[in-house]
């Protein structure tokens, strides 16, 4: 390619630019066709009346009617709130567990490389297979978890995924376990970049283990913490597959019906495509606002 460009007597600077564009083209095309255009269409659709199969022949703009209806729809509002609840548990749990795991993996111990590989297994496993395994593990009557609890004398055994109160937190925690490896590896690489001299000088100053974590490690990896929080929040709002797999589509009742699931149901079960699009646009706005707040707030605690 570069020889062809040289033959055309194009300057080196432009040759590099052309090569760059060529490398970008596959991504840009796929992004345009499979992401940008559908997102744009969904945005347009949210202002239209495409809420039944026969509406396709008489499509028209109806302004904000779909958006106004969302705010009157208790099922949709409850689903948004459940997503926030899910997100709160997921992001908090993810942050602490992945950081803790990264600190452990950053130390020297036997089979470190094997264990580092093993923690990545849930992340690359099929989500439906994971769901099936966890459903067996948490089976209320004879599942291993409740069997162990009953051996230790527990009488009111939790119903886990079959409990209207526990299903959402349980799914959230399982999701942490599934995705944690990715965040752990990001933290691990960040931890390995903290200069050793800082630890040595803090030791000379008499700082203990926790002091070194709070005054050296955390400030040094704060950009990574920020990245993990932003990414985790976005992942937590797009939690469709794991909830569907573990809870028969948001059950029991609607106790784990998060907004991603609600959008899917509205669109593909009830054929309310515009209404579902309006809910998706609102979800996008919610995520955008949360992310903007984080960007603004990061100046106070992230050290670059």
């Amino acid at each position: 390619m570069s020889r062809m460009l040289s033959d055309l007597k194009i300057s080196l600077k432009h040759q590099e630019a052309i090569t760059g564009y060529i490398f970008m083209i596959p991504f840009v095309l796929v992004f345009l066709v499979f992401q940008f255009i559908p997102i744009f269409m969904s945005f347009i659709l949210s202002f239209m009346n495409f809420n039944s199969l026969n509406a396709v022949e008489k499509l028209r703009f109806i302004g904000l009617a779909n958006f106004i209806r969302v705010f009157k729809d208790t099922t949709a509002i409850d689903s948004y709130l459940r997503s926030f609840q899910f997100s709160l548990i997921f992001v908090t749990g993810m942050l602490f567990s992945s950081l803790f795991m990264a600190i452990l993996l950053n130390r020297k111990f036997y089979f470190r490389r094997t264990i580092r590989t093993m923690i990545y297994l849930p992340y690359v496993s099929n989500i439906i297979a994971i769901s099936m395994v966890w459903r067996i593990i948490l089976e209320p009557k004879k599942g291993p978890v409740n069997t162990i609890l009953s051996i230790f004398g527990s009488e009111n055994l939790p119903l886990w995924l079959n409990s209207t109160k526990l299903s959402l937190p349980t799914v959230s925690i399982i999701n942490i376990w599934v995705i944690m490896a990715f965040q752990t590896i990001i933290f691990l690489s960040s931890l390995q970049n903290v200069p050793n001299e800082l630890y040595e000088s803090s030791k000379i100053d008499g700082t203990g283990l926790f002091g070194r974590i709070f005054y050296v490690t955390l400030p040094m990896i704060s950009p990574t913490i920020f990245l993990v929080i932003v990414v985790s929040i976005i992942i937590s709002f797009k939690n469709y597959a794991i909830v569907l797999g573990l809870t028969n589509g948001g059950g029991p009742g609607t106790s784990s019906r998060v907004i991603a699931l609600n959008i899917y149901e509205e669109a593909f079960t009830f054929n309310k495509y515009s209404y579902a699009s309006a809910q998706a646009v609102l979800l996008f706005i919610v995520i955008l606002i949360v992310t903007i707040i984080q960007w603004k707030g990061q100046k106070k605690w992230v050290h670059y």
Binding site: L8, I10, S11, H14, A17, I18, Y21, I22, I25, P26, L29, V33, N49, N51, S52, L53, N54, V56, E57, I62, A65, R69, D73, T75, R135, E139, P140, K141, K142, L159, L161, N162, S163, T164, N248, G251, P252, G253, T254, E265, F268, T269, F270, N271, K272, Y275
Partner: protein, 462 residues
């Protein structure tokens, strides 16, 4: 130089874009399995001769779900159709089974797909597609072909403002299947003839043996089971003003009945057991359920011992019915023609063949009123033979045809029917796992469905 640079970049971009879209192009209106792929492609390398071009065989394209694509009976039906008419079949396989496949079908039909034949497995789907104009109106076609649908399908024929959009392929009713081995071991006589739901429960109690893990009754976590008593009494799902009728006492009775099978009578696994996938929908085949209340299509599963091996004989008996509710329930599956079809003649031939002959391949009672009695006897004889001695022709006829039960549709069909079904299952589940009481469940279902109906009306006016 700048101009040259821009031209080169633009050219490269154009080539890549064209390449991408050229890859997406296909010269076929279907993307599924090709039934003809079973035959070797003999002349793929050779250009067709003039004679071959002239004699290009007629082709009909058919939507099927992934189960139907592989089902032996369906394959035989399609082969027989081609053998009889010379019309070849190309399948458009939808991913998933049942409800999941229809989610894909909605989108495919909306996108203007021209696949000729659409399978409509239950009344809610039939109502949805017929009332939204995705199916071809069949009156004119039938008139042109001199096809008297009224004469063949009679009471099973459904019309929308006088227009026929689909034809029924069978009238599946419900029956109770029982495990003879469990009954023999418990020394309990087999159920027969008329019986009530109270008698069903008493029988189930006698054959339930928790130590052996045997339950007397098996009704999975399908929404129908939560309102079956009401439907059997033919209590409609909608009031005259179009709002939900779920506050009718019969619906409350239905929910209570289902819950008490496990919580009070202990004859059936709980909702929790079903929803945690401890028991499968067809658990009866595994030999631990004494009785299974199911549609008669289940006989095909029981007779397919290669796929579903079993170590017991089964029996079949008519469903229990309480006084004042002497009805069986059931659904008619149906087939229609896509309104975008470019091939109505071949589509008509397939439609006619499949709905007229469905019962011969699947053993379901036909939705036909023109058949002589001995025609159905032949079909039942085949079912009895395939059962390996489990049931006789008489057993099947008594359970399914020759009894004094009337017939009512099992589904609640009308405005916001999909939401109705979904809400019943959600609120019913909350009641069944003990989160809310019976009255609250009924009230929630009524209110939520009313809200869904109201929204549906508002949205249809927008």
């Amino acid at each position: 130089m700048k101009l040259k640079f821009r031209v080169i970049v633009s050219l490269l971009l154009a080539v890549m874009i064209l390449g991408l879209f050229a890859g997406c192009n296909k010269d076929s209106k279907t993307d599924g399995n090709d039934e003809e792929s079973q035959k070797p492609a003999k002349s793929s390398q050779k250009a067709p001769t003039e004679k071959e071009t002239e004699k290009k065989p007629e082709m009909v394209t058919v939507f099927v779900d992934s189960k139907d694509a592989e089902d032996g009976n369906s394959k035989k039906l399609r082969e027989d159709f081609t053998a009889r008419t010379g019309i070849e079949i190309k399948l458009n396989v939808l991913p998933g089974v049942g409800q999941e496949a229809y989610k894909k079908l909605d989108i495919v039909l909306l996108s203007g797909d021209e696949t000729d034949i659409v399978f409509l497995n239950q009344p809610v789907i039939q109502h949805k597609y017929a009332s939204t104009g995705l199916l071809m109106g069949l009156n004119q076609l039938f008139k042109d072909k001199k096809y008297d649908a009224e004469k063949i399908y009679g009471k099973f024929l459904k019309k929308y403002d006088g227009e026929i959009f689909y034809l029924p392929n069978g009238a599946t009713v419900w029956a109770v299947f029982y495990n003879k081995k469990i009954f023999d071991e418990a020394k309990v006589p087999y159920p027969e003839g008329e019986w009530t739901w109270a008698e069903y429960i008493e029988t189930a109690k006698k054959v339930t043996d928790h130590e052996k893990g045997i339950y007397g009754s098996n009704m999975f976590n399908w929404d129908y089971y939560l309102y079956m008593i009401a439907r059997q009494k033919n209590v409609t799902g909608y009031k005259a003003d179009g709002t939900s009728n779920f506050d009718a006492p019969e619906y409350k009775e239905s929910l209570k009945f289902y819950k008490e099978l496990s919580s009070v009578h202990k004859v059936q696994p709980s909702w929790l057991d079903y929803s945690s996938k401890k028991y499968a929908w067809n658990e009866f085949v595994n030999g631990k359920m004494a009785m299974q209340y199911f549609g008669t299509w289940f006989v095909n599963i029981l007779n397919d011992t290669e796929t579903y091996p079993r170590d017991f004989d089964y029996g079949i008996v008519q469903p229990p019915a309480n006084p004042g509710a002497k009805n069986n329930v059931g659904v008619s599956g149906a087939y229609g023609i896509n309104k975008n079809t470019e091939n109505p003649d071949a589509a008509f031939e397939y439609l006619k063949f499949v709905v007229e002959n469905w019962y011969k391949y699947f053993g379901s009672p036909p939705a036909r009123v023109d058949l002589p009695d001995d025609e159905m006897d032949k079909v039942i004889k085949t079912i009895a033979e395939k059962s390996g001695g489990s049931i006789t022709v008489e057993d099947y006829k008594k359970a399914v045809i020759d009894n004094d039960l009337g017939f009512v549709d099992e589904k609640i069909v009308g405005e916001a029917a999909a939401q109705y079904s979904s809400v019943i299952k959600q609120e019913g589940e909350r009641y069944l796992v003990g989160e809310i009481g019976l009255d609250e469940a009924v009230k929630n279902i009524k209110n939520k469905v009313d809200e869904a109906i109201k929204t549906e009306r508002e949205q249809s006016e927008e």
